[in-house]
């Protein structure tokens, strides 16, 4: 909107990021965008490739799996995507509460902003502990 035409170039702008002290609500906000866009651009293409590779036959599926055999790199992608999902999920649930007009009191808002990433880390950790205990990957 700003800069849509030259006429308003001298008009005052609202303060931007640099004048605010960082708080947990800002972290969950940007994490929501980062994890959502990360999943959209990395996770979902991998998901579709996985389905396509299964449908295209065993060799194609082997080739897909071979991309995850780079030592720890494959795990970093999978753990990263699972964290992105849980972070986005808990943050999205927080958004539903905010959409209803609740949870804007400073202390409440701060508490849930801290709880969201913690819950995402704990859920991701629990899921991978379960996977490790079953030895399926």
């Amino acid at each position: 909107m700003a800069g849509a035409s030259g006429s308003e170039s001298n008009r005052p702008l609202s303060p931007h990021l640099q004048v605010y002290k960082w708080g947990p609500h800002m972290l969950v906000s940007i994490l929501h965008r980062a994890t959502g866009d990360g999943m959209a651009l990395v996770g979902v293409p991998l998901l579709v490739w996985w389905l396509y590779a299964i449908s295209a036959g065993p060799e194609s599926y082997e080739y897909f799996l071979s991309w995850f055999n780079w030592g720890y790199l494959g795990y970093i992608v999978l753990v990263g995507m699972s964290f992105a999902f849980f972070e986005h999920m808990y943050s999205g649930l927080r958004h539903f509460v905010l959409d209803a007009g609740a949870g804007y009191e400073l202390q409440t808002n701060k508490m849930w902003s801290i709880a969201v990433p913690l819950a995402a880390i704990i859920t991701t950790g629990a899921m991978w502990l379960y996977i490790a205990s079953k030895n399926i990957l």
């Binding site: 909107m1 800069g3 006429s7 308003e8 965008r33 959502g36 866009d37 999943m39 959209a40 651009l41 979902v44 293409p45 998901l47 579709v48 389905l51 396509y52 299964i54 449908s55 295209a56 036959g57 065993p58 599926y61 082997e62 799996l65 699972s82 999902f85 999920m89 999205g92 649930l93 539903f96 959409d99 899921m127 379960y130 996977i131 079953k134 399926i136 990957l137």
Partner: protein
């Protein structure tokens, strides 16, 4: 319609009457994603292995193929709206923005089509046993 201030340039043009549509659909598909991706996560970690034969057998079941297809629709719809907001926030040039949103639509519809077709192919032709 004036030409000076921002409000002057839009006053009298009226509302497009569909401003809330993306907002509502982002939330509808969010609930769809919540249910369907959690279903996928729980289904995947409960599988005994990820051999090709088992994947075919698993995806051949209507109770897997159908939620998988619905999940692809919900996910791609949701990400299409989400990435459009990203583009609109960070790309100021109208031409580039238009081009990127066009690409985004091709990505979303093409990706969903490829995923759904793959699942359908497995479900209709893949029976091993």
């Amino acid at each position: 319609m004036g030409s000076g201030t921002n409000i002057g340039r839009v006053r009298g043009l009226g509302s497009a009457q569909e401003g809330a549509h993306h907002w509502v659909m982002q939330r509808v598909t969010a609930v769809g994603n919540l249910l369907l991706v959690l279903w996928l996560v729980f289904s995947l970690i409960r599988l005994p292995n990820f051999e090709h034969e088992l994947m075919i057998e698993w995806l051949s079941s209507p109770l897997v193929a159908v939620p998988m297809m619905l999940m692809l629709v919900s996910i791609f719809w949701h990400l299409r709206i989400g990435l459009q907001v990203l583009i609109e926030d960070y790309v100021p040039d109208h031409g580039v923005r238009f081009g990127l949103i066009l690409l985004l639509n091709f990505f979303a519809i093409g990706g969903a089509a490829l995923g759904i077709f793959s699942v359908a192919k497995i479900a209709f032709t893949g029976v091993v046993a």
